[in-house]
Symmetry: C2
Subunit: 414 residues, 2 copies
C-alpha cells in the first residue's frame, strides 16, 4: 500500500472530523470563498490547462473538448459552488424522532458519510463540482483524476484548498492524488481504513474497473440502457415526440433511450412513422425480425444489441406481443436506470410502473428527465444504478448517512 496514499487518507479523516462539526453558515461561507477564489485566480487555471492541452494534442477531439477549460467554464464552476451554498444542508436535517416505551428520546439525524473517494476521467470541472457537493454534505474528498488533466486538476484543487485555509478551515477537506499511476488507483480502491465510499465518474470501462476491483463500498453510476415502450393504447403523436426526444436530444448521456419496444397491435401503423422521424434525425435503427419486416430500411439487430448502451444515434427496435413481454424484456436487459411506457390506459401505465425494476419508471414523459436538476435536487453527483443506499439521481442527501442520538435519564435494560 502506497505510503503517500495512506497519509492522504489519514489527513482526510482528520479533516472530516472537523467538517462534521461545522455549522451550515460556516460551510456556505467557505463555498462562496472557494467560488470567489476560482474567479480571482483563473489565470492559474488557464495556464495549467494550456499546458495540459498542449500535451494532449494527439488525443481525439471528443477528449480535448472535455479537457478544455476557458473563462466560461471557470465561471460555471464558480456558479456551481454558489448554487450549492444556496441549497439546504442535508446534515442539518433530523429525519424523525420518537420516544420509546422505556422513555428514551431517539432522534434519527443525517450525518456525513465521512471520506468520499472520487475517481474520474478527463473533465477537470469535476474537481470543483465534486468538492462543492461533498463539502456541503460535511464530507472530506479524495480526488483522483485522469493523468491528461493533472496540471489543471492540481491548479483547481490548490485554489480550493487555499480558500479553505483562508477561512481557518481544514484544507485537507479536499485532496488531489498527484500520482496518476494505475498502482495508486488500485491501492485507493482498497483503502477501506480511510475511505467510506468510492464514486467513479466517467465511462463504462472506468466504472466497471472500480466496481470489480474495489473493496471500499462503491456507488455505481451512469450505465443507462434505457427503454421506451409504445403500448397499444399510446397516442401516436405523443409517442413520436417522446421517442425522438429520448433518443436524439442528447444521445451521448446515460438517460438517453437506447431501445424502442412497440406493441404488435400498433406496430404496422406506428413503426413506419416513428422510424421515419428517427431516420430524419440521423438515427440508425436495428430491428428484430418483425420490426425489419415492417420497416425494411432497418438493419437486423443481433443478440448483443439488447444489452448494449450505444451512447450514440443508434436505436434497437423490437415488436412485442404484450405488456407482460415488454416488462419481461426490459427487466432482463435493462441497466435499471430509466424506462418509459407510452399509453393512455391508466391501469397499464400503473402496472408498468410497479412491475419494472428500475430507478426511474415513467409514464408518458422522456427518459431525459432523469437528472438531479430536472428532479429539483439543485445539483447531482451522478445517477446511481444500484439498489443499496442510493438509487437514481444523487443529490446532497445521498452523500450522507444517519445516526441515532438517544437521550435518557438513567434507563437500563431489564
Amino acid at each position: 500500500m502506497d505510503e503517500t496514499l495512506i497519509n492522504i487518507g489519514k489527513r482526510a479523516q482528520a479533516a472530516e472530523r472537523q467538517l462534521a462539526l461545522l455549522s451550515t453558515r460556516q460551510k456556505n461561507a467557505a463555498l462562496r470563498a472557494m467560488a470567489a477564489a476560482l474567479l480571482a485566480k483563473q489565470d492559474d487555471i488557464l495556464a495549467a490547462n494550456h499546458e495540459d492541452m498542449i500535451q494532449a494534442t494527439a488525443m481525439p477531439k471528443k477528449f480535448t473538448d472535455r479537457l478544455l477549460i476557458n473563462p466560461q467554464r471557470i465561471h460555471d464552476m464558480a456558479a456551481g459552488l454558489e448554487t450549492i451554498a444556496d441549497l439546504p444542508d442535508p446534515t442539518a436535517q433530523i429525519d424523525r424522532g420518537w420516544v420509546t416505551a422505556d422513555g428514551l428520546q431517539i432522534l434519527q439525524r443525517r450525518v456525513p458519510l465521512g471520506v468520499i473517494g472520487i475517481i474520474f476521467e478527463a473533465r477537470p470541472n469535476v474537481t470543483a463540482d465534486a468538492t462543492g457537493l461533498t463539502f456541503k454534505s460535511g464530507n472530506a474528498v479524495i480526488l483522483r483524476g485522469g493523468k491528461e488533466a493533472l496540471r489543471t486538476n492540481i491548479a483547481i484543487a490548490t485554489i480550493l484548498r487555499q480558500a479553505l485555509a483562508d477561512q481557518n478551515l481544514p484544507k485537507d477537506a479536499v485532496q488531489m492524488i498527484t500520482d496518476t499511476s494505475h498502482a495508486v488507483a488500485a491501492d485507493m480502491m482498497k483503502l477501506n481504513d480511510y475511505i467510506d465510499v468510492l464514486i467513479p465518474r466517467g465511462g463504462r470501462g472506468l466504472i466497471q474497473r472500480v466496481v470489480q476491483s474495489a473493496t471500499v463500498p462503491v456507488i455505481e453510476t451512469g450505465a443507462g440502457n434505457c427503454h421506451v415502450y409504445v403500448d397499444k393504447d399510446a397516442e401516436l403523436a405523443m409517442a413520436e415526440k417522446i421517442v425522438v426526444n429520448a433518443k436524439v436530444q442528447r444521445p451521448s448521456v446515460c438517460n438517453a433511450a437506447e431501445k424502442l419496444l412497440i406493441h404488435q397491435d400498433v406496430a404496422d401503423q406506428y413503426l413506419p412513422v416513428l422510424a421515419k422521424d428517427l431516420f430524419e434525425h440521423g438515427v440508425e435503427l436495428r430491428g428484430d425480425a418483425a420490426a425489419c419486416q415492417i420497416v425494411p430500411a432497418m438493419h437486423p439487430a443481433d443478440a448483443t444489441d439488447w444489452d448494449t448502451e450505444y451512447n450514440d444515434l443508434i436505436m434497437a427496435v423490437k415488436v412485442v406481443p404484450s405488456l407482460e413481454q415488454a416488462i419481461d424484456h426490459i427487466n432482463r436487459h435493462s441497466t435499471h436506470h430509466s424506462e418509459v411506457i407510452i399509453t393512455d390506459d391508466l391501469n397499464r401505465g400503473r402496472y408498468f410502473q410497479r412491475a419494472i425494476d428500475s430507478a426511474c419508471v415513467y409514464v408518458n414523459a422522456s427518459t431525459r428527465f432523469t437528472d438531479g436538476g430536472m428532479f429539483g435536487f439543485g445539483a447531482e453527483i451522478g445517477i446511481s444504478t444500484q439498489k443499496l443506499h442510493a438509487r437514481g439521481p444523487m443529490g446532497l442527501q445521498q452523500l450522507t448517512t444517519m445516526k441515532y442520538e438517544i437521550t435518557g435519564n438513567g434507563q437500563v435494560r431489564q
Copy 2:
C-alpha cells in the same frame, strides 16, 4: 460457478418478480399460514433436529445450546412470523411525492431490494426469522446455514415452502442451499447476477470472511466494541447503574459495553466504586496505568485490549484527561456500533452525541437498548455497523430500496 447455485439464483429472481407485485393482505395471509404450518408439522422439525443433535454431541455445549430446537422454540418461530404479519408493510409506503417545474408528478416509493442472501451459523431459527422479514418486505431469500444444522434447516424450509405453495405463491421465495461446502459458499458470495445483497449472521469470523470475499454488496452486522464514558459531571449512582447494566446484563451480545472511560477529575472517587460493582458481578477489569494505580486489583491492559470485543465478563478501563480525548479514543477504537456518555451537563452531552461517529450515541442510558425491539421496530434482522444503506438496528424498512414513479402527459426535455 456451481450450476445448482445458478439455478437457485434464477428461481429466486423469478419468484421475486412475483413477490414484488403481491398485496400486503396476500403476504400477511402467507406469513400466518407459514406460522400455522410450523406448529402443525413440528414433529418433522423435532425429528430432523434430533438427528442434527446426535451428530453434534462432540461440539461444545454453547454450540449445541444454539442448535437445539424444542417445542418452545418452534412456538417462538411461529409467534415471530405472526408478529411480522402484524407489522406495517414497508413496500406499501410512498416516502414522498412532488411535482416538478415541468409538471411531472414524481412519487418516491419503497420497493423490495430483490434477492437477499443470508449466510448464518448454528441457530436454525434464523431460517424462519429471516424468511419472515425478507418475505414481508417483498424479497426472495437464499439461505445458507451451518452444516451442523442442515437437517433442521431443511425441515423448516420445506414446511415454509409448502405453506407458500398451498397459498398459490412461489415457493422459491425461500430456498435453502443444501451443499454446505466452502466452495459453494464462496460462489454464493460472488453471485452478483442473482443476489442483490448479502447479510451474514453469526460470529465475527464469519462476518469478516463474507465482507472480504464477497463481490455481492454486503451489509455488515454485529461487531460491537461499545464504550461507556463517565464524564466529570456524571452522577455516580447513575454511572453505577448504567455501567453495570451495559456490561453484565448480557455480556455475549454486540450491544454490551466492552470499555469504560472515565474523566480524570472523578476517577479517584468513582473508579473504586464502579470497580467494586463490576467485581461483584464477576467482571475481570483491565486498566491503563492510571486506572491500575487507583484500583490495583485490575490487570494491566495491553494495546490490543482497546480494539477487542470480548463478548464476555471482561472490561478494559481508561482514565482520560478530557471529553475531547474520550471522543478521540472512541472514534479511533470503536466499531461504530453504540457508545454512551454519562453526564449531567447538557452541552457536553450534546457535543458527545454530535462528535461521536457511531450508529447509536447515547446520553445517560445503557448501550443494551440498541435493538430493533427496544427501538420499536417490531423485529430486526441485525445491527448494521456500516454507513451505506443501513445503520444501527435493521427492521423491515432496511430490507427495501426505493424507486421513482414519474407520470407526465407528454413532457420532453428542452
